[in-house]
């Protein structure tokens, strides 16, 4: 039996799961507050923009976005499999391409913020 190459995607999935478990609920709450026009000064457009313009801020935002994407892609792949969609290779390819596109576009969008 050959060793599986699944660790590549599982590693991203596990890291993404850890990140999203801690950060996504907070982000959902903050976004809700912002939508209700209740944004503390720390979360105004200007301060978030300044955060994204900073190199460390870029790295953090990039990590949160891409790891969440890879986590979601892998989770969705496994969920589809559990629901009986057995075309695993097709499903995996499509989902991971979406995650890769998201990763690349996050990279360039973050670079464009000054």
């Amino acid at each position: 039996m050959a060793k599986s190459n699944k660790p590549i995607v599982w590693g991203l999935f596990a890291a993404g799961g850890t990140v999203t478990a801690f950060i996504t609920p907070a982000l959902v709450l903050l976004t809700l507050f912002a939508a209700m026009r209740f944004a503390p000064t720390m979360f105004t457009y200007e301060s978030i923009h300044a955060f994204a313009a900073n190199w460390l801020g870029k790295v953090i935002i990039f990590g949160v976005i891409t790891l969440s994407l890879w986590h979601a892609a892998h989770r969705f792949r496994v969920t589809l499999y559990d629901f009986g969609v057995r075309a695993d290779l097709v499903v995996a390819t499509i989902l991971y391409i979406i995650a890769a596109i998201g990763t690349i576009s996050a990279f360039f969008s973050l670079l464009s913020i000054h």
Binding site: M1, A2, K3, S4, P7, A14
Partner: protein, 248 residues
Amino acid sequence: MSEERQIQLEVLRYNPETDLEPRYQTYTVPCVNEWVVLDALNYVKENLDPTLSFRWSCHMAVCGSCGYMINGEPKLGCKAFIHEYGDHIRVEPLAHFPIERDLVTVVEDFITKFASVKPYLIPKEEKPISAGEYKQTPAQLMKFKQYTLCINCMLCYAACPQYGLVPEFLGPAAISMAHRYNQDSRDGGRDQRQEVIASHEGVWECSFVGACSEVCPKHVDPAGALQQVKVASTIDWYQEHLMPWSKK
């Protein structure tokens, strides 16, 4: 004091010599509340129908022989108390295994898989008996003690939807037992076991449903073991592919 009540025990019957397919047979059994489902089965065997076949041995959750589906859930017959159920109890053979006869299943698939992970100590270095014991600290023992409690009852295989979907899957008990020896400070066989458990049919078929840990009568937590195996196998993969000089 013991309270007697009558239960309807609905048991799946299958005799490969006479039956084309399994059927259900219901027995009326006078029970006391302290009984377990295995007692009710034994009452049937002794008093009502000696042709009923089922495996059991110790009656104390040690041997792992009396696993059945009880009202659709994998349970040990000797740990499922009558007072936890209503007056109608359905007993079927463990799910995901072929039926040999009545409640007796064909377990060769599990035994082959279990043996394939080398579930025994492979010493790092062979010592002559005169050199004494392989010593271990309590902290080293704690790392794997929980996994030694597995009694090979196969409830986790009957509970695992992945094993039901993908019969090639190595399954919870085999992988957590491999993990038990991998975690043992006296053991040096991890590389040999990884060849089997880090394969696609090994730990990577697990999608972390967690049903194995819920049904385990010995609280082994196979799902936790499999997650640890995934983390360790992922670290292995990166070491082998990104730092090929670090191993062997």
